[in-house]
């Protein structure tokens, strides 16, 4: 993914939020589900198809008062995994 790519959540995917801020992303078309931590939930909610990868990284990191070193790379890693597993897509990508 390029920093300028726009990432959009797969509209069929369900976010099941739980009490402890963790959640499950569930694709009913494939029955594939994955548990996600609160950071990934934050990232997921930013995937509106208008924000670029760089925008999402900036917004996700900016939503926390303090972040550890390497947080940007972690957010990019989350985005890559969401796309690779079909929970999100890259706008315009074939």
């Amino acid at each position: 993914m390029e920093p300028s790519d726009k990432v959009i959540a797969n509209p069929v995917v369900v976010l099941r939020e739980e009490f402890d801020d963790w959640a499950v992303l569930y694709n009913p078309d494939t029955a594939h589900a994955v548990g996600v931590n609160p950071t990934a939930v934050t990232v997921w909610k930013l995937l509106d198809g208008r924000r670029s990868v760089a925008d999402v990284v900036r917004a996700a990191v900016g939503s926390y008062a303090s972040v550890p070193e390497g947080a940007e790379a972690d957010v990019e890693s989350v985005l890559t995994r969401l796309v690779d597993e079909g929970f999100a897509g890259v706008e315009g990508a074939g």
């Binding site: 369900v14 499950v24 009913p28």
Partner: protein
């Protein structure tokens, strides 16, 4: 969890069959009116908003509903998957094609109780075997995942091996599930000639353990003779070895449903389970399902059941198996004792041994 993961739905109270052991009919508290289409569709929207992942559509006989395709479309639109529990008689090619096209079906479960009509129809009614086998063929042609449940009872206990051969060898199913006619619903009326005697139960366990060894991993059970054979073998071995209590032993922990699922009866009544229809928590489209799930005192009490120690019950007094026992399913516990929060006598190892039952060698640990 903020919402149930799955919801069991009696999508209709009507049925084309009258199986002798049906849990649905002859049950006090059970609803026998059907919600209209629009009410179900509104409810499915709520389930979708809550993030419910799948629904199990049962009844009654789901394929009796003339609006079944419309209901499935509602399930799909709400971003859920579904399973259907059926006797198969009313399944058509068109319906199977529709189900396949949704891409959301976890499976259609057809009840098959024997290797031939003479056995299967004994408890399920004339013509039902033919309908069930025909339905399995239709589902296969359309690539719909097929599931089968064999309910073990007096009329088929000596035909289990032939039933397994039919299902696994001839019909090519990957596996099948087993259960037993339990003291619920219509079975209470016919219990004497239908439920397994101690000797029959032992034969069923022996037969199913042998079938499991012949077809490894292809016979499943969460209740009934095979489940009992497995669990009782573990409990017996643990007691003989003086092993520490099982992690979930010594308390009423058998039922995990209150943490994962709810049930809805045909009239829209919400209950913890279809086997406990008298515990009505609320009603669809009138009560907030998420709120019922999180806060209803009956459901909270049902969850707290798992903290109830078995040695608090007179029924369990002096039992050496208590540290390894989970108290079993609250459904038959209620119908047999009148109390939900009670161990079920139906799956009591000590009782089974006391009336002459013996354990089966080779039960999978």
């Amino acid at each position: 969890m903020r919402a149930p993961r799955s919801v069991d739905i009696a999508i209709t109270a009507r049925c084309n069959a009258r199986c002798l052991y049906c849990y649905h009919f002859d049950t006090p508290g059970m609803a026998y009116d059907d919600l209209p289409t629009a009410e179900w569709l509104t409810f499915f929207e709520e389930l979708g908003r809550l993030g419910v992942m799948d629904v199990i559509l049962a009844g009654g006989e789901p394929f009796l509903r003339p609006d079944f395709e419309e209901l499935l479309a509602g399930v799909v639109a709400a971003r859920m998957r579904f399973s259907v529990l059926s006797n198969g008689a009313l399944l058509t090619d068109e319906m199977a094609a529709y189900i396949a096209a949704t891409g959301r079906c976890n499976g259609v479960q057809i009840s098959v109780d024997g290797p031939a009509a003479a056995v299967h129809d004994a408890a399920r009614g004339a013509g039902s075997f033919e309908g069930a086998v025909r339905a399995l063929g239709i589902l296969r042609r359309h690539g719909v995942p097929r599931q089968v449940r064999v309910t073990v009872h007096h009329f088929n206990v000596d035909h289990l091996e032939a039933t397994a051969e039919l299902l696994l060898d001839e019909l090519g199913l990957p596996s099948f599930g087993t259960n037993a006619a339990g003291y619920l619903g219509s079975c209470k009326v016919h219990a004497d000639g239908l439920q397994l005697t101690v000797e029959e139960r032992e034969r069923a366990m022996r037969s199913l353990v042998a079938i499991e060894q012949r077809y490894p991993g292809r016979v499943t059970a969460t209740a009934g003779p095979l489940a009992d054979a497995r669990m009782w073998a573990r409990m017996s071995a643990a007691r003989e070895a003086g092993a520490p209590a099982f992690g979930n032993g010594g308390r009423l922990t058998a039922c995990g449903c209150p943490w994962t699922k709810l049930a809805v009866l045909a009239d829209g009544s919400v209950t913890p389970c279809t086997l406990l229809p008298h515990l009505v928590l609320g009603h669809v489209n009138r009560d907030d399902l998420g709120e019922l799930w999180r806060s209803h005192p009956v459901l909270q009490a049902h969850r707290a059941r798992s903290q109830t120690p078995l040695d608090a019950f007179e029924f369990c007094a002096g039992c050496e198996y208590v540290p390894y026992c989970t108290g079993n399913c609250p459904g038959p516990a209620y119908t047999l004792t009148g109390e939900v929060d009670h161990p079920s006598p139906d799956s009591c190892l000590r009782d089974f041994l006391a009336v002459g039952g013996s354990l089966v060698d080779g039960s999978r640990a």
